[in-house]
Symmetry: C2
């Protein structure tokens, strides 16, 4: 069967079964969550890995090498935060076209280091090889934690929360594609010829959210029952929690946090901002569930139910939703 | 400057400096050895990463998916063995063309599992994404050890050793390229039309050495002062040891272990087998130095001297050698 027919998540499910690690007591979590978890005598080691491929995940006509370096670390940090962990060590595998300039590599590392310094992450190694014609970054991040939060602990009655506004990154990408040029976030207010939108602080903010997302940990994880980071879109990632926890979910549309920047841009482009918030993806904010009654500093957008997944709008109209968002091998968004 | 001018190893040296980790007491070894090493309360954790890219490291017209899976783990195991460690956990990042068959992914994992089972390695996770048109495998392997052997401990007077014959893999690749077809090692003795060499047990053995190298650890590392695995070729990898240890080396040409398969194939093709043994690369045998007097079960090919790198032939003629072998961004072999 072609991969495009099977889809990414059914493929992963098959591999999960094939690589089953239940016989290994040191492996707490194998394939199928944001990170793998290994038990050591002192605590838990988390390992996560993510790849960015030119032409698939980024376009060099509107992404700088510095931004790429920053982002490959950011998306990996987001996975460690999604497990309740602290990021510690980063390894980069780089495949670079032979004709590239060395400045490209230095800029990638400068971007990584910017974020690494912020979270006290050591860049400890990697592999550098020549690629045929495309740039490729594959990052592996190792973290630590005392206790892991998986996708599998949500229970009916739990609240559903997100740690930030949704849809900004996807809208930022939309705008960036229209502009089609690199932006280094130093030219606020300037106009780029042929751009449908001026580079105002609000469009810049959305673009920055896409190119250089800033992962933030959930400081207090007591009472948190399940967690994931939103990389494939709210509906898709919430479906992952529901599936692993064997529960359903209700989301209240008017509780979804939208930034004023997204609302402005959606109005200017005459698009429904919720399309971006529900299915846009690459938000890199945390989506989690917590026992009812626990005081949490995040946006409460719904609650876990026994079964079925629904969006309820401001008028109380209930619509079922499916796991939709970004899936490799298929293109839904 | 173009990468092709700077070369891989000067690039890595620059990154080593940029990512300096001396301020972190938990990082024993950062960029610049076969694996990175982190200190924990119980021992040392080793982390290594390697990438195989279609069109650069392999050609799907004569490599099966099963062989690719096997090899991506094998090359990573070799790096852990080169540090004196035991491989434990494997993570695979896969980028696959959207039009690929799911069988390709299953076969890759089957190849990984074949070798993982042998060394009791758990496959704990990874990332799967769609690539534009090329297949790409990036593997990260985590290992454990009580004591690490780096590239930096060789001292004048130490013997230089290798754990297996050299040049087989490079010759295997040469033959495979001429045959230009997939070989699953089940058709011994058969002829492939248009092949310059029949598929005899000896050509098959060389080809297998290239497609499915079998990493072997050095069982007793007492007395070993430095170690590396031969992936870029003997001369290149020995130069890495000399540089890191700030020493020189003498190699005795008639002590280099050559397989009868390589000698036969080189005679049939009318090529000097030492070209393959010295610069071929991808041998994935261990190259190490050990204090004089230590009893070692490996081939002694030379000794460490104060400075300068030389090959001495059977007649006693001494020729200096440079760090030559496979280097990404340049093509020397």
């Amino acid at each position: 069967m072609q991969l495009s027919k099977l889809g990414e998540f059914r493929l992963i499910k098959g591999l999960e079964k094939f690589c089953e690690t239940t016989s290994r007591k040191d492996v707490i979590l194998g394939i199928g969550d944001d990170a793998a978890a290994i038990k050591t005598s002192k605590g838990i080691i988390l390992i996560t890995s993510d790849t960015l491929i030119e032409g698939v995940h980024f376009d060099l006509s509107f992404t700088t090498s510095y931004q790429l370096g920053y982002k490959i670390l950011a998306v990996n940090i987001s996975d460690i935060f999604a497990m309740g962990g602290k990021p510690k060590y980063f390894i980069l595998n780089l495949a670079i076209p032979r004709t590239s300039d060395t400045k490209c590599v230095r800029e990638i590392y400068r971007g990584i280091k910017k974020l690494a310094n912020k979270f006290d992450i050591a860049i400890i190694g990697g592999d550098t090889s020549a690629s045929k014609d495309k740039l490729l970054l594959s990052g592996t991040l190792i973290g630590e934690t005392k206790k892991i939060i998986t996708r599998a602990g949500a229970r009916p009655g739990d609240g559903i929360f997100v740690t930030g506004t949704l849809g900004d990154s996807a809208m930022g990408l939309r705008i960036l594609k229209k502009i089609g040029k690199k932006i280094n976030f130093e030219g606020q207010g300037m106009k780029i010829k042929g751009s449908p939108l001026p580079l105002t602080p609000y469009t810049l903010s959305l673009i920055k959210q896409h190119l250089m997302p800033e992962p933030r940990p959930l400081k207090d994880i007591s009472g948190v029952t399940s967690m994931i980071d939103i990389s494939d879109g709210l509906l898709m990632d919430l479906s992952h929690i529901c599936e692993k926890s064997r529960v359903g979910a209700i989301i209240y549309k008017d509780k979804i946090p939208l930034s004023k920047e997204l609302i402005n841009a959606a109005r200017d482009l005459n698009i429904d901002p919720f399309r971006f918030a529900f299915k846009g993806g690459e938000d890199y904010v945390l989506l989690f569930t917590a026992s009812s009654g626990v005081k949490i500093n995040a946006f409460r957008i719904g609650e876990i139910i026994e079964q079925g997944c629904f969006i309820v709008d401001a008028k109380g109209k209930k619509t079922p939703f499916k796991a939709e968002g970004y899936e490799h091998f298929r293109r839904k968004f």
